[in-house]
Amino acid sequence: MTAATVDSRPRVAPGFRLQWEPAQECHVLLYPEGMVKLNRSAGEILSRCDGERKVGEIVSELEQAFRAIDLQDDVLAFLAIAQQQRWVELQ
């Protein structure tokens, strides 16, 4: 499995469906007969994994949206987990 870099374009893997659930007040990731409830940061990252944006762009967007700095390592660490879980693929 190739590790994500700032130039990778991650997307939610086929067979998974990401959506905001008002009843649960969080993003959820749906897959065959299952569901993962995502915490806020996971939801914010995954909802930007559209196969178009590069990781670098996702990082700057998040830094702007949440007035944070140095999020790159956190985003890459999360993507490594997400890849391992097969939630995302790299384009």
């Binding site: 067979g15 659930e21 009843a23 649960q24 897959y31 065959p32 007969e33 299952g34």
Partner: protein
């Protein structure tokens, strides 16, 4: 139980009890033939909408064989549009290329294909049909549509020794998920228990084989192995907690907390032709009765594990202890635990079955509706 229950995250739409297969371990009610009056399309569409409004996210179309409903594509399309992850749980019979393409267009997310065994003989014997070759063909059709390939094989005494070969076959077909779910003993499987319950040694061996394959197939296939309650030292939460997660709608529109709960006497389960999904889920006696822990008797009510196992399975309690509010007799603390131990010991000794294997079909079901199968038989 005062707190408002969470959403019914899982909607199981049992759209029909009709089925071309006659599996000896089917979990449909033994008296399914009584419920012939299936919900019309318009009611199903309303139920899908109302359950989604309550927060349901997973929708399983099941049965019987859901492909026997001509309006399945229409139901899937609406479920998809409403934002459900849509699952079709099928024997594969009736899944032609044309139908698969139409379901894909309708937005079907996933198909779970059931197999009975890795061998044609046992598959066809257990399902009482000639469907083995067909299932392999259907597996190809599923792959061609780009759906995740999820296979399910119900495991029991008659096929548990083939578990390695079953896994190998699933891998050949390209399965990404394989559920090896041991039969639990309700409904038809309860009737056929003396034929189906494996020995402890068989179970341990199958688990060890599955573990080896899990390592070998890591990254390619996910393997799930579910042991039968009878061989577990502790009871399991019934459907993750009665009325907590799962909402089953039976073919005739009756809402149930689990697909076998219909057997429990003295509970008025709501009819969704007359009641809204929200009313059924939030307020009906059928859903409230065994929510949480306040309904419990001893030994459950003072047990340190009561929040974890929630007293186990209500149907098992009814079938084995004659009381749906009793502790699940698979629990060693249950005063009726000896019933479970006796069934296991019988399996261990390999005693020949007294009664012939009963295959699920309308005739056997009508015969069963009479009396015999409805009466719990504490031994």
């Amino acid at each position: 139980m005062s707190a408002r229950p969470g959403p019914p995250l899982w909607l199981l739409a049992e759209v029909t009890y009709r089925c071309p297969l006659h599996c000896a371990f089917c979990y449909n009610p033994v008296d399914f033939a009584k419920y012939e009056d299936e919900l019309p399309t318009a009611d199903w569409l309303r139920i899908l909408r109302e359950a989604r409004e309550l927060g349901a996210v997973q929708c399983g179309f099941s049965g019987g064989e859901p492909l026997l409903r001509d309006d399945l594509e229409q139901l899937v399309e609406e479920a998809h549009r409403l934002g459900y992850y849509t699952n079709l749980l099928t024997s594969g019979v009736g899944l032609t290329e044309a139908r698969a393409a139409a379901l894909k267009r309708a937005g079907l997310d996933h198909v779970q294909l059931s197999f009975q065994d890795s061998s044609r003989e046992v598959n066809d014997f257990l399902s009482h049909t000639r469907t083995f070759d067909l299932k392999r063909k259907v597996a190809r059709i599923i792959k061609d549509q780009g759906w995740p390939m999820v296979m399910n094989c119900v495991i029991h005494r008659l096929n548990i020794d083939h578990v390695g070969r079953i896994i190998e076959m699933a891998d050949e077909i390209g399965a990404e998920y394989l559920e090896l779910a041991n039969t639990q003993y309700y409904s038809w499987a309860f009737e056929n228990r003396e034929h189906l319950l494996p020995t402890r040694a068989q179970l341990r061996e199958a688990e060890a084989i599955t573990d080896r394959w899990r390592e070998r197939l890591a990254g390619r296939m996910r393997l799930f192995f579910v042991a039968p309650d009878y061989h577990e030292a502790a009871p399991k939460r019934c459907v993750n907690g009665w009325g907590s997660t799962l909402l089953t709608v039976a073919p005739d529109g009756v809402a149930l907390p689990c697909h076998t709960a219909r057997m429990l006497p003295g509970l008025a389960f709501p009819d969704l032709r007359k009641t809204s999904v929200a009313d059924a889920w939030l307020h009906s006696d059928g859903f409230q009765r065994y929510r949480g822990t306040s309904w419990m008797k001893e030994p459950c009510s003072s047990c340190e594990h009561r929040e974890q196992d929630l007293g186990g399975c209500r149907c098992q309690a009814f079938l084995l202890a004659g009381d749906a509010a009793a502790a699940d007799p698979v629990c060693p603390k249950s005063p009726r635990h000896a019933v479970v131990e006796a069934a296991v010991q019988r399996a261990e000794r390999g005693e020949p079955a007294v009664r012939p294997l009963v295959f699920r079909d309308p005739k056997a079901s009508r015969a069963a509706s009479g009396a015999r199968l409805q009466v719990p038989r504490p031994q």
